[in-house]
Amino acid sequence: MTKKASLLAGIALLALASTADAADKIKVGFMSTLSGPGAALGVDIRDGFELVAKGEGGKLGGLTADISIADDQQSPDTGRQVVERFTKRDRVDVITGMVFSNVLLPVMPAILASGTVYISPNTGPEDYAAEKCDPNFFVVSWQNEDTASAMGQVMNDRSLKNVYLIAPNYPGGRETLNGFKRTYKGAIAGEVYTRLGQLDYAAEIATLRAARPDAVFFFLPGGMGTNFIKQYVSAGAQQDARLYTPGYSADEDTIKSVGEPMVGILNTAQWAHDLDNPANRKFVADFQKAYGRLPTMYAQQGYDAAQLIAAAVRDTGGRIEDKAAFRQALHAARFDSPRGRFRFNTNNYPIQDYYLREVVKDGAGRITNKTIGKVYTDYADPFAARCKMK
């Protein structure tokens, strides 16, 4: 029992050791999924984010950046604990980094209640896009339905009349298919919700082929998508009904782990590594130099989250203690995004362009995404109208 007492003493010491705020730096709490099967995404976001600070010599917008990195283990329970640490012990100025909506949604009330700014580098849930929009909540990536609804548009344009839909049985899966159905005008050959974390899709693929659709739109994030694509292609189904997906299931990370079978998959995204603008050329070159691999959407989103913070710090002249001014600067921030034009809508979700990409084997024999068209220009999500924030 005396052991317990010494433990307590240890905690007290630890508490004393943390220092008080210094005005000459910006404290960033970066929490992401850095272990487990979802780690690939979190690592890309982190690498993109850190690239900006590295480029500025450890600063963001002129202020020394004190970035605490924490792993949420893809668990809201752990996430909540980290948020408590960020807001109550480290008293960070900004929190960012989360990959998954099932972590973000449960912990967001605590972040917002503490008055801390959150910048989402990935998931953009419907919840905070409409009535519940919040001046402290920014999404630098996309609204969850955006890329799917862009794909609905693509399929209309390509006169695909009979599409089969497949997604995991969880809110994100339903949200994505809703986004698709919002724009897609044709018939739905079938709509299947699979087990979260499912390994084998042979049964679903067989049923799917029996329905004889013109095309398949699937949303299966992470390893599920890898499994599905490998199995779909080996079943020879790609010749009968081509695969269409939001960009997250056909990005460079998936391509690297799937390889050849990826060729021919069409996907939509707000960015592509071959977009021709100076900011993107610099980003892709810097990222490849620093990490030795092509960046993904996630990396770009993490990169822009950091650029956004840097721009706001710069615009406020480093006076981030004035929360209202900092928020205002974030909302109005201008920075050179690799995706090209970017600005915030009234709900702090992006207004941006969406592109159609195709996975191809390029001249050098490398399998990668190639931009083949623009789907939307200055696209704003449909929920912003319900946001009362100005």
Binding site: L34, A40, G223, S234, E260
Partner: protein
């Protein structure tokens, strides 16, 4: 459901079942002979897949990849047995669960440090990457046919070894009564290490074969480990025959459940209820099967120990 689709789904169930059997066979041997709960069995499967992917990338040969994965994983498995697991045989199941849970954590982190957090590629030989026409209107992925073939061959080989060889006799004796086995003069220490190595090799076969169908990533072992446990508990721990029956039951029930249940619910209930209850029940089906089997046969279908 048209006949060809039914046949295809049956093959799918068979293939899933046979892969589970490869994992479950090693697990049930280790379990039965050494009375050892090895949660890290899935870890060996992961290591097998990673080794196969690495060798395939370097050599370009899928066969070499499988061979290297089998040898490498068996060696790692035996090394693990000699160092960490051996002191645990006489400990309670509790300690075995804890220690092998720790091994999962350690192995996952090490793999992440060595190979990175991104999933890595392992592709099937180009010759097998398409479908073959088995009957008019029934096209089936060639690769999955190979998987079925290897699974059947492994099952047959195990059957011959366990039932018709001296080693198999020792194994069966060990599974039913360890004291008797050592009284018969069997060097149990050697037998345990060898059995563990064989279990690890079977894991590697499964890992290497499934790699081209599934994501090769950190944590891939845990999902499938739970399935393998379900299989051996249904079959009766320690029984290879039980593992085969259990694996096929699970494979087929899971496949049938995933296709038939949502359709059934769509026919019977409102679309709202159907889209929710169908997948939910399908996910649970194998656990329901396991609970049901244990309810009526608390030691599984083919209890190895009397």
């Amino acid at each position: 459901m048209p006949l060809t689709l039914l046949a295809e789904q049956a093959l799918n169930g068979l293939q899933l079942g046979l892969m589970l059997f490869l994992l479950a066979a090693g697990l049930t041997l280790v379990f039965g002979i050494m009375d050892m709960i090895n949660l890290a069995h899935g870890t060996l499967y992961m290591i097998g897949a990673y080794l196969a992917a690495t060798v395939a990338e370097a050599s370009g040969s899928f066969v070499a990849a499988i061979a290297a994965a089998v040898v490498g994983t068996a060696v790692i498995g035996m090394a693990l047995e000699l160092t960490v697991l051996r002191p645990l045989y006489r400990r309670s199941h509790l300690h075995q669960v804890l220690a092998t849970f720790a091994l999962i954590l350690i192995a996952n982190e090490l793999v992440r440090i060595i190979w990175g957090a991104q999933p890595i590629a392992l592709n099937m030989p180009a010759a097998l990457s398409g479908p073959v026409e088995l009957a008019p209107g029934l096209r089936y992925p060639a690769y999955r046919l190979v998987v079925i073939g290897v699974g059947l061959a492994a099952a047959l080989l195990l059957y011959v070894v366990v039932v018709h060889t001296r080693v198999g006799m020792w194994l069966r004796a060990g599974a039913s009564d360890r004291e008797m086995a050592s009284a018969m003069g069997v060097n149990t220490a050697w037998l345990f290490t060898a059995a563990f190595g064989a279990g690890a090799a079977l894991c590697a076969v499964a890992g290497a074969l499934l790699g081209p169908l599934l994501a090769v990533q950190v944590g891939m072992g845990e999902n499938i480990l739970i399935l393998a446990f379900v299989v051996i508990v249904i079959g009766g721990i320690g029984s290879v025959r039980g593992a085969l029956v259990g694996a096929l039951l699970v494979g087929i029930l899971d496949t049938v459940g995933r296709t038939a249940l949502p359709a059934l619910f769509r026919a019977l209930a409102s679309p709202e209820v159907a889209s929710e209850a169908g997948p939910a029940l399908a996910s649970m089906l194998i656990y329901v099967l396991m609970a049901g089997v244990l309810c009526f046969r608390p030691r599984g279908l083919f209890p190895a120990r009397g």
